[in-house]
Amino acid sequence: MKLTLKIWRQADTASDGAMHTYEVDEISEDMSFLEMLDVLNERLNSEGEEPIAFDSDCREGICGMCGLMINGEAHGPQVTTTCQLHMRSFSDGETITIEPWRADPFPVLKDLCVDRSAFDRMIQSGGYISVNTGAAPDAHATPVPKDNADRAFDVATCIGCGACVAACPNGSASLFLGAKITHLGELPQGQAERDSRVVNMVAQHDHEGFGGCTNIGECTAACPKEIPLDVISQLNKDLRHAIRRGY
């Protein structure tokens, strides 16, 4: 395959960036999107040009490290992570626009890499349960009803990649936040800190500068783990209950 790539280049956070155009040839449709960028980077390296910086780690769709805005869609046209997106989803001769996640709480570090520490600080503000570590408890020590366990597990698949923020016209992290609130809120271990968790995490979300949710659903469509929109309803419900109980 022969492709024209329009890629955002930016030296560092303080510098201004711009779109640069690159031509790549002999791309196999069995390559992943990141392998296609690897091919381009090898060429740039050999030509003495600075390779394009992008994030990746596991390359099997479970770590949440990679994430690119591809032709205006977070992680591209398929419901998966960028590393699991393959070039067969594109056609020969196509022009592909590649940009970093755009949100002020996710500053661009270099080229296509963004700093998602804002998510870490949100987790630190309440996305945990406080228990003393020790020997693993018996699996049947704390019974969890099947429905709650299933819902908790479904939303616990969130890998924190930030596609929800990238896709949201308001730059809101409500889907990420809702996934964490629902995950811990469905489980017995999450109950003790349930009210303080939602209040503190929402406060941190706002403090980081993410926008508000308008319930339009671009986030859930972009989510590689298909986190459903109802986690945002759950988030709102938990916050409403916490406010009523005086938190």
Binding site: M69, P169, N170, V202, A203, C213, A222, D230, K237
Partner: protein, 221 residues
Amino acid sequence: MRSTIALKLMMAVSGIIFIGFVLLHMYGNLKAFSGHDAYNDYAHHLRTFGEPMLPYGGLLWVIRVVLVLSLVVHVYAAVTLWRRAKRARTVKYVVKKNKHSTYASHLMRWGGVTLLLFIVWHLLNFTIGKVNVDGGPTNDPYNLLVDSFSVWWLTLIYLVAMAMLGAHLHHGIWSSMQTLGLTNSVRERALAKRIGLVLALIITIGFSLVPVFVLAGVIDK
């Protein structure tokens, strides 16, 4: 209480108050199908409602105060959230697709501004200023209604405004239920969206009937 979600809750609750009001307003409008006297009697009864416990026009003033407060809250929350959303992405995408969300959901902000302008005109037209674009008298509510909607361009303004209202409600109703935390499953979300669509259609069509039938000459003096 200044969190984005608290602002959304204020937006949802004030919006639901507006929905209750427009349903009541629509019921009153449809009285036009019962003729001159029924319509004007209803307008009169709105003012004598609750007498002697309430003074003349007392109920209307209660409703007006609630509506103005709701409007202040709704607009304040909308403007604050709009500004926060703008600040959350100061560098725009070169290419951005929004293909999974409804057109109505993208009309909320500018559609809301349009509705606000319409409401100002509507109040000048029928309540505060009483403008008869036909040049006739303005002291008879039914006759003012018929005179107004006999003018095609005025009817057109109202029909466009009602389409905007319908779009606003189509997304706004289900969105308010989501904000209140009532849609915690696929089934509840589908139900909320259906309620939003059906109520939006009822309100848009219900309000459009009177102007259309006046213009068509079915409702006349």
